[in-house]
């Protein structure tokens, strides 16, 4: 069967900065695939490229066999109904309640009765432990709660592909366990293809079927969680073990630190 998402030779620039420099990866249908990499390498950017919110400079991006950059606006919106994306910031609609946020995609895309929608929304909220918060507004929630509501909204339509941008950030250990379980369940019950962007090696390794590590615009390693943990490449090793020193840069590209300090001295 064809891969759900297929990316080939992708390059993408932000102004003069090259974010991706020829990335090729495949996301098989029904699997949980993790994309890892240091902060600022472009993981969120990659999800936006898959979702068609950004256009690649060169290379192909196919979802369900459809070339995303070539779709018309209307077709793109049709394809997105089959996708879900959990934003890093949650991005809830601030002028409507938690309940209405989760109901939003159901009301727009289906003709279900209000009672049925109510039941579905309560089921999704129950799953993230926030049924009691249905009447609150996003401004009244904590950061972790916002992300859990956003998760409920993302899965509301049971999309066949879900992209999770940092689903574990800002969650306490209990909520984290619940969310990990939820992602697994959604994947298993609905056969949802899941892409998880995360820094949490342990959590991610526990649920991912396959891991891609991106750094400096290139794919530096990929494999099953076991393979990654025993990977011989020094760059992957450094990232997986969380060592600050090594070939993977922690810093945003810059001139030498000492030079910059001296430069300021000189000019003042």
């Amino acid at each position: 069967m064809e891969d759900h998402v297929c990316i080939q030779n992708l390059t993408y620039n932000r102004g003069a900065r090259r974010i991706f420099d020829g990335i090729t990866l495949r996301i098989p249908r029904g699997k949980i695939v993790a994309i890892m990499g240091p902060s600022g390498t472009g993981k969120t950017t990659l999800l936006r490229l898959i979702g068609g919110q950004l256009r690649p400079d060169t290379g192909t991006i196919r979802v369900n066999g459809k070339s995303i950059p070539d779709l018309s606006r209307a077709d793109l919106f049709a394809v997105r109904r089959e996708m879900g994306m959990l934003f890093q910031s949650g991005a809830l609609f601030t002028d409507i309640s938690v309940f209405d946020n989760v109901a939003f995609p159901l009301r727009v895309h289906t003709d279900l009765s209000e009672e049925l929608i109510r039941d579905l929304v309560l089921i999704k909220l129950q799953a993230v432990g926030l049924r009691g918060a249905a009447g609150l507004f996003p401004a009244e929630l904590s950061g972790g709660m916002v992300r859990r509501v956003a998760l409920a909204r993302t899965v509301a339509l049971d999309p066949s592909l879900i992209m999770y941008d940092e689903p574990f950030a800002g969650l306490d250990p209990i909520a984290m366990g619940v969310i990990v379980q939820l992602i697994k369940t959604v994947n298993r019950v609905y056969g949802t293809t899941s892409i998880i962007v995360s820094h949490d090696i342990t959590e991610t390794a526990s649920i991912a079927d396959y891991i891609y590590v991106i750094s400096d615009g290139r794919l530096i390693g990929s494999g099953t969680p076991q393979e990654m943990l025993s990977h011989e490449s020094p760059r992957v090793k450094q990232f997986v073990k969380g060592l600050p020193d090594g070939p993977v840069p922690f810093h945003y590209p810059a001139i030498d630190f000492a030079d910059e300090l001296l430069q300021d001295r000189g000019s003042s």
């Binding site: 919110q53 997105r80 109904r81 879900g84 910031s89 991005a91 809830l92 939003f104 727009v108 895309h109």
Partner: protein, 258 residues
Amino acid sequence: MVSYFRQLGQFLIELISVVGRAGAVWWQAIWRKPELKNAGLVVRQIYQLGVLSVVIIVLSGFSIGAVLALQGYNQLVKYGSESALGLGVALVLVMEIGPVVSALLYAGRAGSAVTAEIGLMRATEQLSSMEMLGVDPLQRIVSPRLWAGFIVMPILALMFSIVGIWGASLIGVNWLGVHEGAFWSSMQEGVDFYSHVMKGIIKSVVFGIIVIWIAVFQGYDAQPTSEGIAAATTRTVVYSSVAVLVLDFFLTLVMFNF
């Protein structure tokens, strides 16, 4: 000299690109007419943009009508023609002050709110997350505001004129003692629906389209930062006020056969 030309060139390119982007937003949104199922969205915007502007329109219309009556009376009474007060006030309000001042108020009250709202939605990724839920913000957010803004403006302008005339009659007739019959009959005889009222309505329709278009585009195109939204809101008020005044000149030139 060279740098002057370069700056001019950059400015022109920027101008063309802004106008192009604004045109694209407008064009794409206007054809995404809200479906019947979503009529509620337009109604809600009519409330936000129109109904919530009524108080400021009524207060301003009344004050301006009253002032016109005071000043007009002072001049007309010198020639013993204060009975023409009703006609004068009505013409000035219906053709000029009603459409223009209500459009300026509308830009300040409703336009700025639309820009800030959409800009903040952009900054907080609400527009992005809506896109990823398969809902086009041009249809869901922009289009209802364009349509509502466009429907509401002529109504507000008419309301402004009517309240202004009422204010003038209170001052002129009830206070300064202009003959009531003369006040209203001069107005009835002198004001023609097609050559005066209709042209005022056309003006306010044009102003409505321009103001709401600028407001929506500035919000949609705003830099997603606090300064970006502040600057966009300012631009909405400044650009639409200038646009209204300049357009008023040209519309008057064209419609009143100069």
